[in-house]
Each structure stands twice: as structure tokens, then as C-alpha cells.
């Protein structure tokens, strides 16, 4: 274990630059807005740079940065009390991309944009960020069963919006 320093073979600045596209994608799925995502990543990178000494292991850089982005996103909403993005605006803004995207994923993208934050955020952390259930629970200050429930509900809503057949016995949300 050692601190990353500017003398490392892969300097921290290069590390941050290399991970930026992934961070931006992560921020976009949290915010669903390109401009907000760019602001979040910019602030997160600045914060990461300032606290770069806290990163002991270069292999942990990705998770460390994704966590900073997630917190910066939450902080932005706390600070500015951003209004919820109008779904119609999101859809309109994404039209160009939808047109170039495989047809089979268009419905899923729309379904994802309709998911409430409480379901979308843990799902994005799990699928895109690779966080474990326990890590998500710790990060979002929830219990592990609560995270499992949210992840289940997220996928179950997607499944319905996505057009998959309902659960065999009609059960949408199990009791936990």
C-alpha cells in the first residue's frame, strides 16, 4: 500500500483523465442531464485532486472516484435543490441518441429515465459502478435489506415498463 504521487508511472492526473469518460457516464445516469453530469464530474475531479493523498492504492481509484461522483451528485442536489428534471425534456434531449441506438434498448432507456431516484441510483451504482449491496448500503446510509428491496423494485419496474411478462404469480414486490 502506498500513496499515489506525481512521480508514479501513471500520474494521478492521467489516471483521472483516463477514467473521466466512465465517470461522466456514471454521472449522466445519476443525473439524466449532460450539463449537470459534466458539472458533477468537474467538481468531483477537483475534489479528488485535492484529496489525492487519500488514495492509497491505485487499483482502488475507480471505486474511489465513482464514490466521489455519487457524493458530489447528491451534494449538488442538496445544495441547489435542483428541480426534478422533466421527463419530457429528458426524452426530447435524448432523441438524437435514441435514433442511433439499437431498437431493443430504446424502451429500456426510456424505462430507466422514468425510474425514481431512490431506485435508479442504487441500480446504477450496482450495474455501472460495480458496487456490492453492502457498499451501496453503506454509501446511501441504508440497511442491506432496504438496498435489496430497492434493487428488486427497480428491476421489477423496468421489467414492467420494458414489456416483459409480469411475475408468474403477479407478485411485484415481495415482503421483506
Amino acid at each position: 500500500m502506498r500513496n499515489i504521487s506525481p512521480d508514479d508511472p501513471v500520474p494521478i492526473s492521467e489516471l483521472l483523465a483516463n477514467l473521466r469518460p466512465e465517470l461522466l457516464r456514471f454521472a449522466w445516469w445519476l443525473a439524466r442531464d449532460r450539463a449537470v453530469a459534466e458539472d458533477v464530474v468537474q467538481e468531483a475531479l477537483l475534489r479528488a485532486w485535492r484529496s489525492r493523498d487519500a488514495l492509497k492504492d491505485p487499483a482502488a481509484a475507480r471505486g474511489w472516484l465513482l464514490t466521489i461522483v455519487r457524493r458530489e451528485h447528491a451534494r449538488l442536489y442538496e445544495r441547489k435543490r435542483l428541480e426534478t428534471t422533466d421527463l419530457d425534456d429528458v426524452i426530447a434531449a435524448e432523441d438524437a441518441q435514441l435514433a442511433t441506438e439499437g431498437e431493443e434498448l430504446v424502451g429500456l432507456r426510456l424505462a430507466m429515465t422514468q425510474l425514481p431516484d431512490e431506485y435508479r441510483v442504487p441500480l446504477v451504482m450496482q450495474v455501472l459502478g460495480g458496487f456490492s449491496t453492502e457498499e451501496i448500503a453503506r454509501e446511501l446510509a441504508l440497511s442491506t435489506p432496504a438496498v435489496l428491496t430497492r434493487l428488486f423494485r427497480a428491476r421489477n419496474r423496468l421489467r414492467r415498463i420494458y414489456g416483459l411478462t409480469p411475475a408468474p404469480d403477479g407478485m411485484d414486490e415481495p415482503a421483506v
Partner: protein, 238 residues
């Protein structure tokens, strides 16, 4: 394991199958069907979320005009041509360069990149509260230069992400007005390059400690004058 417990785990963590869940699935075709749906959904979800974002419809920096105005100018020319002649020459040169550059579609110049960044942080010009020397030193740490305010005031100091690197970005208020200073250690110019564009005047100057310093002022001030005012405040560290 009950159906509810099985589906909770299948929906929450589709890829993980504990021994108890496997035992339940072996005896429950309905939950197995549910598992198949969740696995398929998760595959599509992974594909969707892993796709690169499309470029912005209006890439702000790239949208800046980069061709004609980026023409390097000799610093402080000894003899200035008559204004009308200069204007005509400038127009012809601009049109000519514009056509050439449009056909070649060049990458944005360093000057255009600097101006694009400054426009993104246009609020930096309006800051009036002086930054502490400690804050300024922290921003300039490792940049090979120290800014000694004297009669000047640093009102903006930030480490910015610029063209793949973290660079100090400061606004210094001198007797000649506000000046933006960006220390670009990763950029190298052979000689001083002057530019005027989008209401800004600037110079890219080779830094004594390596790299380039971008100096930008609003309007069209005499940049030699600006440099003379600013230079005493910049102490280069070998």
C-alpha cells in the same frame, strides 16, 4: 426459501445464486422463468449503461471559431501598417485562412482552447474578493511559478481540468485591469504567440520553468503593457 425470498434475491442480485436459492430454483419453474427474465434484463441493462455518451450537440469549446483569429501575431511590431491597409489585409487573410482551415478542419488551437475554457468559467472575471496567499500558493503548487501579489490582487484561483491536465487558473487584478493567468506545463510554444478573439486579447508565453503561460485580458488592451504590469508578480521557480 419462499417464492418471495427467491424473487427478491433474483431481482436484486441476478447473478448471485446461493445454495438455498439454487435448491429452490431446481424445484420451481415459475421462479426459474423469473430468473431468466432478470438475467436477460440485466444483460441489456449492462449494455445500455456501458454505452459511451454521444458528443454534445453543441460542443462548447469546439464550437469556438478557431481558424482565422488564431493567427499568431508578432509581439509588439516595430512598424504598424496604415489601419485601412491592415484592415483590408486582415479581412483577406481571414477569408483566405478561413477557407483553408475549413477545408482542412483543423484541431482547435491552444489559444482557442484557452479562450473556450475561460468562457466556460466566465464568472471568474466577476470575482472581487481577494484570495489569500496560502490559497494562491496551493493552486500554484508544482506549477513552477509563485505569484507575489504586491499591488496586484488575486481574485480567482482554481485548479482546472484542461485538455487532459490539471492546470492553475487565476485571475489577477492589476493596475491595468483583470488578467487571467493559466499555467500550462504540458504545453510548449517556441515563441510568444498573440491572439485576439471573441472580445479577448491574449498571449501564449514560453515559461522560464518549462511549459507555457497563457495570459488573457478582456477587450483589446496593449498586451505589452499588460505583460509589463504582470511580470514583476510572477516569480519563476527553477
Amino acid at each position: 426459501m419462499t417464492h418471495d425470498e427467491a424473487r427478491l434475491m433474483l431481482g436484486a442480485v441476478p447473478g448471485e445464486v446461493s445454495p438455498a436459492l439454487a435448491e429452490h430454483l431446481a424445484e420451481c419453474p415459475d421462479c426459474t422463468q423469473f430468473q431468466q427474465q432478470m438475467l436477460r434484463l440485466n444483460q441489456d441493462l449492462t449494455r445500455l449503461l456501458s454505452r459511451p455518451l454521444p458528443p454534445r450537440a453543441s460542443a462548447r469549446i469546439l464550437a469556438l471559431p478557431v481558424a482565422a483569429p488564431a493567427r499568431p501575431l508578432a509581439r509588439a511590431p516595430a512598424v504598424r501598417p496604415p489601419r485601412l491597409l491592415a484592415l483590408a489585409a486582415s479581412v483577406l487573410l481571414s477569408v483566405g485562412l478561413g477557407i483553408v482551415f475549413w477545408s482542412l478542419r483543423p484541431a482547435p488551437s491552444l489559444a482557442a482552447g484557452v479562450l473556450g475554457h475561460i468562457e466556460l468559467e466566465s464568472g471568474s472575471w466577476s470575482k472581487l474578493t481577494p484570495m489569500s496567499q496560502a490559497a494562491t500558493d496551493q493552486v500554484l503548487a508544482g506549477a513552477g511559478v509563485r505569484l507575489v501579489p504586491g499591488d496586484a490582487t488575486v481574485t480567482y484561483a482554481r485548479i482546472c481540468y484542461f485538455q487532459g491536465h490539471w492546470v492553475p487558473h487565476l485571475v489577477v487584478r492589476t493596475a491595468r485591469g483583470a488578467v487571467t493567468v493559466m499555467v500550462l506545463r504540458h504545453e510548449h510554444v517556441a515563441s510568444v504567440q498573440s491572439f485576439r478573439q471573441n472580445g479577448y486579447s491574449g498571449e501564449l508565453v514560453p515559461a522560464p520553468s518549462g511549459g507555457t503561460v497563457a495570459i488573457v485580458a478582456q477587450g483589446t488592451p496593449d498586451m505589452d503593457d499588460v505583460m509589463r504590469t504582470l511580470s514583476p508578480h510572477l516569480h519563476w521557480i527553477p
